[in-house]
């Protein structure tokens, strides 16, 4: 089974609708579902090895976030009865509920975005944006930044090692280290600007600014729109029910 990018985006929209409009008790099963989908359902599985590591990092982040948000708010938001006491610390009911609400909402919002990007090649996303009418220059920027993203960490390591060998104070006090920051950034920026200018000239010489059509990209994937329709309908129903609930209160 295959889901096109618009289908996945409508799923993200559904997740965001739930995150903002439904109580945290409803959103916890949604988070579990998202995690299950990311590991078992092909269209939502991570497409690269590094995308898989994002999940493990995010899981640690999410667990820590829940503990910190619930704990801190339980202590600081002193409203309602004391739910429990830990040694000499009182945790209040309102604070604990607020912490849970915020952390579950944030995890659902972030996880849906993570699942979307982990299961979609960024180049495909850029092409999709172009097919929607985004200027070609935007897509070029995205693709070129992917190139720089691959190059820069390696270049930073090179410059760092070279400056350290020349005696740059990379391990001295904070002021000296700040100076070393400048010593590393300067050659990095200079070499990258030279490269940017050269690439820019090459683009201009190839008549980049003359080519402005997006027509060649408008070859949408031949998928059915059932999923898109289902996700969007579900989002609309949740919004309508929430408005009715809000009006009746």
């Amino acid at each position: 089974m295959r889901l096109a990018i618009p289908d996945k985006l409508s799923f993200v929209l559904l997740a965001w609708t739930c995150a903002f409009l439904l109580p945290w008790q409803f959103n916890i099963p949604f988070i579990v579902l998202l995690v299950l989908l990311a590991f078992t359902f092909n269209p939502f599985k991570p497409v690269t090895a590094s995308a898989r590591t994002y999940f493990s990092r995010f899981t640690i982040y999410a667990i820590l976030l829940v503990f910190v948000l619930v704990g801190v708010n339980g202590l600081l938001l002193r409203e309602g009865p004391v739910r429990f006491r830990f040694i000499v610390l009182d945790f209040y009911d309102a604070g604990l509920t607020y912490g849970l609400t915020v952390s579950v909402r944030l995890i659902l919002l972030s996880l849906s975005v993570l699942v979307f990007f982990a299961s979609t090649h960024f180049q495909d996303f850029a092409k999709y944006l172009q097919s929607l009418g985004l200027p070609r220059s935007f897509v070029s920027i995205i693709l070129l930044s992917m190139f720089f993203l691959e190059q820069l960490p390696h270049r930073i390591t090179q410059v760092f090692t070279a400056q350290e060998a020349r005696g740059a104070p990379v391990r001295a006090g904070i002021v000296a280290r700040s100076r070393a920051f400048f010593l590393i950034l300067s050659p990095l920026v200079l070499s990258s600007i030279v490269e940017s200018v050269e690439r820019g000239v090459a683009l201009e010489l190839r008549g980049y600014h003359l080519l402005r059509t997006n027509k060649d990209i408008r070859q949408d994937q031949p998928t059915s729109r059932v999923w898109r329709f289902a996700f969007l309908t579900l989002s609309s129903i949740i919004i309508i029910l929430s408005v009715i609930h809000w009006l009746s209160n």
Binding site: L69, F122, I141, I184, L185, I193, H209
Partner: protein
Amino acid sequence: MTLREKVRTELSGSAIPFIAFGIALNLTVGQITIALKIPLYLDSIGTILVAVLVGPYAGIITGSFANLMAAAFGNPTMMFFIPVVIVIGAFTGFLANIGWFKRWYLCVLGGILQGILAAIVSAPISSYLFGGTMMAGTDALVYFFRAMGNNILTSVFYQGLTSDPVDKTVSYLIVFFLVKNLPLRLVSKFKGASNVVS
């Protein structure tokens, strides 16, 4: 000149690779600050550099795409701060256009103003979406202000006012000195050359 034409003029062929570099710099500068153990984010240096040398729209695009790509590469929470980087790109471009990047003391003043503006825009996002907990060192400040009896929004705003002006002023000064040290023949290739050269 319409907005579309202004954006199109800024996004000429030569600016595109530089904007791409700015995005990558925003995403990788953390590698240097971590290696040097510098207690600042400095993650808008690319946006500021592009906004100064190319223009405000290019700065906005750099910041927005950097956050979008950060979300794509494992940090989805960055996406919620796109409004903040839009303000950073636009305000820096504006300051550069009126000549504030020609004098270091104007850069300091600009950095402080930028920090305040960033704090104003980021406070509602941090407080509503994150409950004031960003899982960073600055959270201690938020908890401190909350323990003093302030609500979450006020505490996050005070935390922003405490740390953002420092971060932005340092970023502005770094960009100022970086640009000053660039050869004139390179700077002159950019549309914003007149923003930095008297």
